[in-house]
Structures are given as C-alpha cells and as structure tokens.
C-alpha cells in the first residue's frame, strides 16, 4: 500500500563499512581501528562541569571533565548526589558516547518529494524548519483548535515542549512512561496508601532486612542508587527473595529464587497474603491502627492457600510458607518491591495492589527498611501568564475508559489519531520529543496507521532514531552535555536540586531543547511564556528563590536542603491520616469498588502458548536503556546486539545452536525485520524465551545499531489493556522460530 508518508531510510556514505562485532564479554578486540588516542589525562588538567545524566530517567548528578582542547574525556558521578553517590552506572559512564556519536542529527531536515514521487530528507536552515513547525501549529489551531496538536514526550527536554504546547493551548500529551511502564503501580499504590511510588522509588533498601523482587531485575535494570543499596543490603546479610521465571542476575544473588510459571504472579502474592493472615504473622498493631478492610481481605483469601497456589504457580507450598515467614520475621524492615515496567497481563494494577497489601500487612510503609517518606524541593515557576484553558485534553480521549488514569495514555493518543476509531476528539498533528515511538510502542500496526493518518509530525531528538524516519521536520537537539536544562528536584530522603549546564558548545548545528521550544513559541506570538534570552536566566532566577545561585551551583552541582515535612519514618503509634477515601491504608479499595473494579485483587488465568510457541519475556540489560543507546559507541562496545535466550531442551528440539541466527514469528504472524542470534542457556524456562529490549533498529543512519539484533516490540501485537488505568500489558505474546530468511513481503504484520 502506498502511504502518504514513506518511512525514509537514508543511506549514508560508508555505512556498513565499519561492521564491528565486538563483545566485552570474554573477548578483547582485534585491530580494525586506526587510533591517535592519547593516554590518560590527570584530573588536575581537566575542568569539571556539573550535569545530571539523561541516558535514563534516574537522572544521576555528575561532572563532565573537559580537557584543554574542549573534548569531554569522561563523566564521573557527583559524590554528594543521593541518586548516584559518586558512582554512575555503565550508561552514565558511557554517556559521553552520545556526544561523540558521529551518526548524530547534525542539521534540521525537511521531508521533500522528488520528481519520481519518492521522498527524502533535505537539509534545511533552522529558520526554515522552525517556520514550518510554527506554520503548521498555526494552521492546526485555526482548522481544528490547538488541542488537536498532540505531544509525545519523555525526559527533561520533553518538559520544554510540554510548556510550549500548554502556552499554545494544548494538553494533548502522553508519554510511554505511564501506560507502557509504571502507571499500574502508581494507581495501585495510590489506591492503597494515598501516595505514589516516585522516581527514585521511596524503597528503603539501604536498611532493609528482607527484599522481595517479583518481576523486578535490580542489577539488570541499573536504577543506580537501588543497585547500590541492594549491594549494601547483601553486605549486611539481608534476605533477598526473587520471583522470576528467568534466572536473572538478582535471582542469582538471592537467598530464595522462586522460578514461577509466567503469568501466575497474583496467585503467589495472594497465597503469601493467606499465610500472613491465617498464620497471624501480619503486623497486628500496625494493621489495626492504620489499615481498612482486614476482615474483607481475610474472607477473600481464605481458600487461597499455598497448596492452591502450587497448582497454578508451580512453587512448592513449603517454599511459599518459608518465604512468607522470612518476610514476617524481617517486618517492618521488609520491601515487596513495587517494580517498574509493570505492564504484563492487563491485570497489572491489581498485581500492584497485591504487593501493596503485602507491604501494608507487614507494616512496611513509613518504616525504616521498608518505605520512607520522600521529600522534594518545590522549584518556583519562572513568571509567565496563565496558560489558556484547552477545550479538551488527554483525559477526553478516554471518554470514560480507564477512569483512574493519571496521565495521557500513549495507545489512546494513537487511536485518537486514527479516524476509523471515531474518537470524539482527534489528533491531527504530533510533536515528538525524546521518545522513539516505533520501538517503544506495542502494536506496530496501530503506530504506523496513526503516523500515516496525521497531517504532520515534527521530531526532536539527538539521533536519527526510527521515529525520525516518520517525521516531516526533524529538529536536531543538543545532547545533555551541551545544554542547560530544568533543575532536577526529584524527591528523595533529603530534598535536593541538581544543575545541568553545558560542558561544551553544541556540536554541529544542534540546539538545546529550550532554545527550540522558545523559537517556535516566539513564532507563535507566545513571547510572554518565553521571556528570557537564555535558559540560564530562568535557572538563576529559580535558584535565587531557593536561596542559592547559578554561580554557587556551578561549583557544587548538587545542593541538599533540610526536610520540612517531618521525619523519614512513622513514629511508634503515631497518628497518621492517609490520603485515601477512608483515611486508612486500604486493604479493601473503596475507590476501586466505587468504580466497579475488584476491591481486592483476584487471580485470573491467562492464555498459555500453543504447541511450538514460547512466551516472549523481554527485559533490560544494564548497559542499554529504552531503544536509545544501541548506537552509542561506548555502550555498543559493551553490548552490540541482543540475543534470544533459549533453554537447551528447546534448542535440542529445534536443533538450534548457540550463535545461530533465527527470525522470530509471533502468534499473529508478525515476523522480526532482522535475525537474532540464539543464546542457549539454562537461565530461561522451556516454555519461554527472553530477549533484551531496544535492538533491531531499522534506520540505516544508525551505522552501528542498524539491523543489529531483533526488536522485541515487533513481536508485541497482542496488547492486554488494564481496565483500571489503561496500562498496555505486553507479555501475552508467543513466538516460534524461523530458521530460514522469510521473504520480505511477509514481514508486515498481517494479523
């Protein structure tokens, strides 16, 4: 089918010439490079500039060390920062590779059409590109209202464009981070404790005596301070319990690994609750004083015995009892980790509720070694006029679906962009800031249909990601090491702020996100919302309100403030009103019952793989994040492609060998665009396969990452939607192996 917007794959000179397959895991390289590299520089010869990392969302504060030639030599964690304690993770240490990636977007690009009808990108001036975006925004506003201009955003630069859209009159924004990742746990913990689990999570791992990870992969996810604190907890002899169908790194470092059958987690959680309640191991004083609904819960779980759960989960009843008792023995210094990327089977908010109820029964919320009360710094907004009131916002796409969603749902934004869904409010154009939608959204067909339906797409990024191939205008952004950005003020044990300032001038013709947003705003007559020449003026003004200054922050990078909200933990028997309907921790959720949802979680059986198909489990590797780091030269060195983990029994059955390339095909007939290498390992069950997310890039301009490994997202065509908050469950997909190269025509999803 000929579409209005072809996906433009631009060939680049020399692409493919430097195809280096190198793994840091066990081998040490070979002489393919010419090098004129100097030896190590002494720190005294380098100038440190404060920043905070933008490779993932943990936002660790750091120093970028610049040499006399103006080259960033290394990035080192800020010792005073509670997000990193002076130690960055591999992605943060390799963040410098983002700057020196020669594949970066270098100049604005505009989609154009040749005489033969084929489309291509031509280089443009900033003025032309910005005018084009602003003109389209004016046109959309006139024809449909500003609300029809939608924003997909992520990360710090996303905030600048959210500001622009609000000033323009639109609140039609969504970020994959909510419905595709952590939304279910937000709704679950809010309904239980009247508080959100923030970022960083308020888990007091440092002082815990028992840490329970269920589908949480600390160590493979490099959520920096949590990895550090788990290591400290191991040193102090804490009990680690990991529930995972895969023998993850965390499982390997645990006292108990429960190798659960996938999709049965709620049964295990309910059985644990059963043991705590009926063996009377729960924290009685705490439960009596702070919680609501114990009797309902008791009645609900009376038949959910470990023996019942054994038949579902394949975990031995005695193992369920033993681990429940270990939690109770450690209480209240115990954490059932709320997890991250918790969108699995569509009942994810209820699974989150089950973990929250367990934490409540153990008395862990508000206790040392459980969950602390975080506090952030409130950064005053730089003065500007009130934003105009939009006629409709992301809340209205839903039209009553997902009543407990607290942010825009990305799949709803896509559906609102496709006329055949007939949404009352429709999106006509998109701005995409810092999120690589084709690799972060499930259901690629829906994405393609939506991208084709909208009239205009502008993409701001540092790299030619897959999403840039769909753009009408590409705006090359400076990397985080080349720009000022909003102050970081995430809640933590101690309130704190962190500064990001440029360590070097932006390379090529890239520009900081704040500059791009302001330039578009000025063209729309919105100067009053961008009343500054340089964003450092905004930061300096804000810092002065906070009793410091840009000058001071340039020297320290991070500043901590005393807590105002009270102690980190609840006092003994302290009166406390929770922000829920009953003012108590709700074991029985009144809010859920009022909305017609189960007030207490129940186990639902999920589909299982058909013969010759295997459940697709995907996850993270510590050196990569999202789909945005695969081309980073430093991180590519660590891991250049993903592989598909296959149990040896399955490999025997299919006669697959280690390192053999296969294509994956799912239950709906979707086939991976690229082959992926088989990794035969005992670390995965025989009913499942595993792969790391974020590989299989199809944009040829990514000279290293193009075609390396396969995209797990391509295999996620079945999306199990959470009825409570719209979370997009992505673990209900099953794959089989193709050992021969499938024909090109077969690669589109036909289901």
């Amino acid at each position: 089918m000929k579409t209005r917007r072809d996906f433009i794959k631009i060939s680049t000179a020399g692409a493919g010439a430097a195809a280096i397959s190198f793994k840091a895991f066990g081998s040490k390289g070979f002489g393919l490079f010419e090098s004129k590299i100097e030896g190590p520089a002494s720190d005294e010869d380098l100038t440190p500039y404060p920043t905070y990392c933008e490779v993932c969302f943990w936002k660790c504060a750091a120093w970028a060390y610049v040499d006399k030639s103006g080259t960033i030599r290394k990035v080192i964690g800020n010792k005073n920062d509670p997000h990193c304690n002076g130690r960055l993770c591999p992605r943060g240490t390799g963040g410098v590779g983002m700057v020196y990636d020669e594949d970066r977007l270098k100049t604005p690009l505009i989609r154009d059409t040749r005489k033969d009808g084929s489309q291509y990108f031509r280089e443009a001036t900033w003025d032309e590109a910005l005018n084009k975006v602003a003109d389209k925004m004016k046109e959309v506003k006139e024809k449909y209202g500003p609300e029809a201009f939608g924003l997909f955003n992520h990360g710090t630069p996303g905030g600048q464009f959210h500001h622009l859209l609000k000033a323009y009159g639109s609140e039609s924004n969504a970020e994959p981070a909510f419905a595709n990742c952590r939304g279910p746990r937000s709704s679950a913990y809010f309904s239980t404790f009247g508080a959100y689990v923030g970022s960083p999570e308020n888990t007091d791992i440092r002082d815990t005596k028992c840490l329970v990870l269920i589908g949480s992969h600390i160590g493979e996810n490099m959520h920096n301070s949590q990895v550090q604190e788990m290591s400290d907890a191991i040193d102090k002899g804490a009990t680690i319990i990991t529930v995972d169908p895969r023998f993850s790194t965390a499982a390997a470092h645990s006292n108990h690994w429960l190798s659960i059958k996938p999709a049965t987690d709620i049964a295990l959680l309910m059985a644990w609750i059963h043991v705590l309640v009926f063996e009377e191991l729960y924290n009685k004083d705490y439960v009596e004083q702070y919680t609501f609904g114990l009797d309902y819960l008791k009645d609900h779980v009376k038949d959910m015995t470990p023996e019942w759960a054994y038949g579902i989960t394949t975990i031995e009843p005695e193992e369920i009892r033993k681990t429940a008792r270990a939690m109770a023995g450690a209480a209240p210094s115990v954490i059932i980790h709320p997890g991250r990327h918790v969108v699995w089977y569509g009942d994810d908010t209820q699974r989150g509720r089950a973990t929250a109820i367990l934490n409540a029964l153990l008395g862990a919320w508000g206790k040392r070694g459980g969950f602390y009360f975080p506090e952030g710094v409130s950064v005053p907004a730089f003065p500007h006029p009130h934003f105009p009131e939009p006629k409709w916002t992301w809340k209205d796409w839903n039209e009553g679906r997902y009543p407990l969603a607290t942010m825009g749902i990305t799949t709803e934004a896509l559906k609102a962009s496709v006329p055949r869904y007939n949404y009352k409010h429709q999106l006509k154009a998109w701005l995409v800031a810092g999120t690589n939608l084709p690799l972060s959204m499930p259901d690629k067909r829906l994405f393609k249909e939506a991208a084709d339906a909208v009239e205009f797409i502008a993409v701001m990024d540092t790299m030619p990601m897959d999403i840039t191939g769909y753009a009408d205008v590409v705006l090359p952004e400076a990397t985080y090491l080349e720009r000022y950005d909003a102050l970081r003020a995430s809640p933590n044990r101690e309130p704190n702020i962190a500064l990001r300032m440029p360590a070097i001038e932006p390379k090529y013709d890239s520009k900081p996100g704040w500059w791009i947003a302001k330039q578009i705003g000025e063209r729309l007559g919105l100067h009053d919302y961008f009343n500054y020449d340089d964003y450092s003026e905004v930061i300096d003004w804000q810092l002065k309100q906070l009793g410091t200054s840009l000058e001071e922050m340039k020297k320290v990078g991070v500043k901590k403030y005393p807590r105002k909200s009270g102690p980190l933990y609840l006092g003994d028997d302290e009166d406390f009103e929770f922000n829920t309907t009953t003012g108590k921790i709700e074991l029985y959720s009144v809010d859920f019952a009022d909305h017609g949802f189960d007030a207490i979680p129940k186990y639902t059986k999920h589909p299982e793989p058909q013969p010759n198909y295997y459940r697709l489990i995907y996850g993270r590797a510590p050196m990569h994040t999202f789909s945005r780091t695969s081309n980073n030269p430093n991180l590519f060195d660590l891991m250049s492609e993903n592989s598909v983990w296959v149990n040896p029994k399955v490999a025997d059955l299919w006669e697959l060998e280690n390192g053999q390339e296969v294509w994956l095909k799912n239950q709906d007939g979707a086939i991976t665009s690229f082959p992926v290498k088989v990794r035969v390992t005992e670390r995965i069950r025989w009913d499942s396969v595993y792969m790391v997310h974020g590989f299989g890039h199809s944009n040829k301009k990514l000279s290293r990452a193009f075609g390396k490994g396969a995209s797990d997202t391509e295999m996620v065509t079945n999306v199990m939607v959470d009825p409570i908050m719209g979370g997009t469950g992505m673990r209900g997909n099953f794959i089989t192996f193709l050992t021969e190269d499938p024909v090109m025509e077969g690669k589109e999803v036909k289901a």
Partner: protein
Amino acid sequence: MRYAMAIDTKKCVGCGDCVVACQTENNVPHGYCRDWIVERVDGTYPSLSLELRSERCNHCDNSPCVRCCPTGASHIEEGGIVTVTHHKCIGCGACIQSCPYDARYSHPDGYVDKCTFCLHRVQKGQNTACVDVCPTKCLYFGDLDDPNSDVSLAIKDRAWKVLAPEAGTKPQLFFLT
C-alpha cells in the same frame, strides 16, 4: 608494598561499568578493552548457580609476560604493577601468547596494551577508575602489605579463589566466592 584487587562475585551484577570507566579513563580505543566480564552458569533449570566476575590483568608475582618480553617493555613497577612501556614495545605479541588470562591486546598504534591498575591514579593515592565507579562496590583495591587496606580487609574473612592457579603465576586478583 603489593597492590592487589579483590572482586566479590556475590555482588557483581556484570553491568560492565568497570569496562566503560576504564575505557574513558585510559582512552582505550573503541572495540578494545582492558577489563571485561565473565559469566559462568552451572546446573540445570531450576537448580542453577551464576558467577559474574570482572576480570583484568592479574599483575602476577611470577609474570610470564615480563619474562618473555624481548625488549624489556613489559616490566614490573613499584608495588608489583605489571605494565608496558609503549615506546619500547615492538608489538611482537610474545606476552599475549604467554598470558594465561588473555589479558593483553594489540593496540592499533602498534604496541601491546593492558590494565595498568590505573598507575597514574594509584601514584596519587587514588583508587583505580573501575573500583571508583562500580555501583555494587564489589571491587576492592589496595596494598596487601597493609592489613587495613580495602583489599586486605575484603579477603580477610571471606573464601576466595584465584584464576588458573595451576599456571604458577601467583596472580594478585582474588575472587571472593
């Protein structure tokens, strides 16, 4: 003085941060590394064990790479640190062949390169870059002759092993098990 390193395999998550930190600290060219991660899995699902360990030059007391070097480029610095003087190295590769740990590589500029225990930092009393960056704090460095050094304290009360003890090289990397 005897510099050494201990690696706690019970805490290492194999993230490779030590590898990138070494790369940026020492300007190791892309495609090469002076340290690396080894993953070893034993058993059958679900009775499994996994060992992750960060490896590098063992800075052996009895170092075959130094003995076999025809030009004296490979030599032992103060504190037992094995290092290569680049301008003396003719790139013959004899040391690469002799190393039981496969710890050396041919630098594209024509000399053999390897871990230096960050000699330039250690001489200033700092830790190596890999030790300083490790998010799990599973790497310990210091002087074995000092009973209070991080490395001495790390191996004092823990079981440990060295790699390829049969090679008789007296390696100075201790893996806590």
